[in-house]
Amino acid sequence: MIILHTIWRDGVFLFWGESEASPADAPAPDSGGVKISPYDPGLAKLTTAVGCLLWDDDNKISCSETELLLPSVVVPWGEVPVPSRAFLADRLNAPSAISFVDDASHPLRLWRVTVAQLSWRQTLTMLSACQERRLADNVFAGEDLLACAAIFRYTGALVARGKFLPGLRSDPAGQSLAVWESAQDGEERRRFNSLAERVPLAVAADAPRHKIVRTMLATLTDRLVRFSLVTTLSRAHAERGRFYSAHDAWFAALRGDSPVIRWEADDELNELRDALDQWRRPVEGGASAQTSLLFHLEEPDIVNSANAPTGRAVSPKPPQTPMHFSSASAEWKLKIMLIPAGQCGCLGEASLPAGEDARAPDCVLPGSVYPVRSDPTDPIDTAGGTPALPASHLLPFTSYFLLFSPSLREDLLITLGQAALLFPPLGRAAQQDGYFGCPLTVNEAHAFLSVHADLLESAGYAVARPDWWGAAPPGAVTLEADLLEPQESTPAFDLNAKIGLTWNVLFNGEPVTQTELEALLAAESPLVFFRGNWMLIDTRRLREALRLLTRRQEEPVTALQVVRMTLGLDSAGYGLEVAGCKGAGWLDSLISRLDGSKPFGLLPPPPDFCGELRPYQVRGYSWLVFLRRLGFGACLADDMGLGKTVQALALLLHEKAAGQSRPALLVGPMSIMGNWLREARRFAPSLRCRLHHGAERPRGEDFDASLKDVDLLITSYTLLHRDYADFRRIVWSGIILDEAQNIKNPGTRQAQAARALQADYRVALTGTPMENHVGELWSVMDFLNPGLLGSRTDFRERFWHPIQAGADLAARARLRRATAPFILRRLKTDRQIIADLPEKIENRVYCPLTHEQAQLYQEILESFQNGLPGLTGLERRGSILAVLTRLKQICNHPANYFDDGRPLAGRSGKLLRLEEMIEEALASGESALIFTQYAEMGHLLRRRLCQAFAMEIPFLHGSLSLKERDDMVRSFQESAEPQAFILSLKAGGTGLNLTRASRVFHYDRWWNPAVENQATDRAFRIGQTRDVMVHKFICNGTLEDRIDAMIESKTTLAGEIISSGEAFLTELSNEELEEVLKLTADEKGFL
């Protein structure tokens, strides 16, 4: 495990790391000079960790040693650095972890560490890769690195917004450099400052830190822009080209690998620098100016105007639906106001007082209020009040600007002049009747609204649009289909059935007639006052709609097309959005079920299903069948513990009952394959299942033959890609992906393999919410319903980026509309579900053994059995109890039996599954308790889990003082972040209140349910607001498995076990004992 850090030194990022220290690493107490940090991972480990974040063909990095100032603490045998996480020092034999808490009071000392110095290309790649704490297996990012990565991401945002300018600077050596620099206005500064505050001392130890972070931003901006601009040609030009002026040399150096300007004459460079500074002054001056400009467009007052405007009323029914056409003489007003700078950013905070007149357009006077949109991307929230700016903050231009000092006045005038360059009609601005600004024609007003307002806004001006101009201006042209009942009685659910339809044209959501459409087009005006509102006229779409109406010949479409249109994914070839479909019997009911407006029919559980489906599970299973019949893939995303497996099994049984003869394929992580097999045997014994796993698995023709009597083949993601050739050949009845987040990254081989398989239906099961990760949604959806969301590039452009910008609510709604029918997610907290659930849900987690575990288990068992016949009485009892402990320890982890100091990862099936489940719990914000009866196991778990999650995970056990226990419990209960907490069953099983946890793991079993329940009740007690999930870990095919089964059987034997504990085993005969302890053949070395 390694935690990566970064430090900004001499204008570059250096990367270094921390690993766990072992006693051997402890610095010798009296060696002179600067000591090597005990956490230093060393060259090889650092290189690997950094290298795995870079692209394969550019991951050569140079490392060296350097000295860093780190907070340090004195322990009995000397001084050591305080690591970023206390557990890193666990094995240093320091007296207590408490002294390793990272606080500011520790003195800074020099330590030697290995650092990786990357090329700038690599540095940017690296920073872009550091978006989460967990970077790769066993590689984590420190908070300092994440803070720098956030600065870089912000740099990207600035560059994407075009908020940067070219400049000319001198380096300390006196060379002139052509550089790209960020240009920030007030809003950007606020964003930057909040990011800069996160950058800790570890990155930039020198003061003033703000200046250092600013340099960092400047450097990153220059590098990012430069890398985007350098081409083979421009590089050659910058290095070898001949220039005729300093301007040319500067322009070339902006696009060269090196920013150095190849021009001799210093005075000319100085002149250019002055010219550039002068040129940039309006932006930079404007950023610090106290005042900026606001442009407010006001529409002609058509409604209240006494002598109706020159526009004509052409509507068929003029009194009810007045349709005015704004002619050229209708006067739009563009008013110019002054606005205190900095107000732009917080316009939204001022709210509009009640009262309609507040919005009246003519009240732009000090003391009154009118709506101002601060950000074009803000949603128009009419219900919550339009974000507005108190007009007292707005100053009439002419009367105020003369009050400013000359330099401010000059800045302001330049700003005004530049606005006129962006929107030429502004050049006519003058003092008008009652305002300073200029009248606009309707065409100019339209141009302003549709193009120039955005342009002005992104150039830093404030713009107030009329409030009817929202994110989507009124006047959308959409279609609505009236479906006709199919002629002949087609069987239900035939998606290829042809369906006749007629189209209705909706203008701004309301039906319009052909006459009205013609009139709208005839007005030849981009903005029309129609039915009491201003509408944007989209000539192309209106013409298309008119053509559709005049043609009156509608070709039938297939039912599938109708479904796609309903989801907003098909425009029926008219280039117009289809807003909805109505009518047509079964199709209508199908559509309403798909979009969730009507429930789909519930099915009875399949006849062969053993056990009971809860009501919500019946719903889930019926839904799976419903989509499967339609030929759509389904993603069942229920919370962990709600029984996704049984719902999928019910679907498989339903398929089988319907006469399916081909096998289905189930793919999951290796650690849950056994669990699947077991659940299948339990709930669907008629389903013939086989594991595809292990070295002896059939390949090639054997593989095909082996599928003959199989209903469900279970395999792992690893093998999916490894045996892809075999899987690809088969046309599966269905493919089910469990833990489908495994294919969230579409570039991985397993994701590609999964998408390429052929099957009649596809199901994805996952417990992690997908809707939060828009980017990851595509891969799963494309597996389920290929092409539904378009290509990845399309998806990125249409949904991902707009949604991520937080800007496009319409895109989010569109995505939801398109995907909602295919994702079913129920939470444990859903009221409906809670009613179905007990407050405490228990399940058993069956884990496979690793080869190492199986081998050890077998060895111990054999030597025990060899010795057993010769033993009697107390000796026999002692020997049996000893072997029990050993076998249970081996099931826990080989190191629980004998710790040889080797790494813990990958050696225990239980541990592997625990890591996966903890990860899922933490990801969904739940805290977890982990109980074990062995103190050594608790220490091992802590060691491994700390490593696996690079976070502090406490272990409460008997040898801690009362105060230490109290501290642990308090910090667990009060933590804002989800946490994991390991407890020994004895020390932590009673008395404590740990209601912060909603997950309880019993890593090993104490066969008395009362004891286990008591432990469980640490979480499940008064104060617990959530339902508690209890997971009991059991190793497949071992004594754990069989004893558990005995207790479950609720026989008299079960009662005996419960009352006497494991001692009852000593009463069994040798044969019976063998039956309990033996390792089932197919469980020998699963992983």
């Binding site: 822009v225 322009f251 106290q290 005004l416 980026h801």
Partner: protein
Amino acid sequence: MSAKKKYSPRTPLIVKGGIRAQGIATGPHRVWWNRRWIEIFESFRLGARLGRGRSYAASGQVSELEIMPGLVTALVQGAAPEPYRSEISFRAVSGAAKASLLAELRQRPMLVARLLVSDLPPETEEIFHAAGCPFFPQREDDLESRCTCPDYANPCKHLAAIFCLLGDEIARAPLLLLALRGITRADLIGAPDTAAATEPAETAAPPADPTAAIPFYGAPPEAEPDFGPAVRGPALAPLIHRLGPLPFWRGHERFLDTMEHLYARAAVRGRVVWSGEPLDLRREDEKTIIKGASLQLKRRNIRADSSWM
């Protein structure tokens, strides 16, 4: 230009680092006031001296040029070892006429604003005329020129070279036309005349160093960081468009066009970083970036076309 010359002029001595006319004001981008300037200059009937003056200006024979209110002085290198001293004086406005002219100009903030960003609204000329002051020079009235060269003709080729250079500068910065009439930038903006004038406040002190509040290695952010939006918009290179081309631009590439291209390319990369996707800088995938950029430029153009202006 006349085909035959009565005498062949001696070749002038070469000047290093002289001011060279860039000829940027010619072509389709020629502004109306530059055209007017040249028309006036041509109406002076210089004959062959016009062409020679132009080549003097282009080859950098003018080694020094100083512009003062109402007066331009220059050193022009001819064939003689010492450069000639040339001088053009314009009739500057002053006194009451200047005051009323300024009052008239200050009534029109937009006009002043446009002058400050190197635009010249045509009504400026009318305002000068109304105040009884010529705007563009007219030979008899308001313009006197002298040169120390032996040429008896006035204007001589040295003065012609100065006229050429002035035309270039005026094309870039029409404020020069006003300066020749004695109206400075400061005049246009106005003196610090009112007590109420607000001086810009000291730039806000940077926020106090909060390092003490966060641990040495940093702490997770309390809220999701706000990187701001990065939606596609019509606004490519907004700042560049706002600022316009760099004054006195001497590069051979067109400033705005090239910049717009560069910004479009940078925006493609910027958006990748902003979105949190891994950045791929391995290959100079120039083509992808350039394609993405031109797509963006095309979209912008389509959108601009669909506007009704």
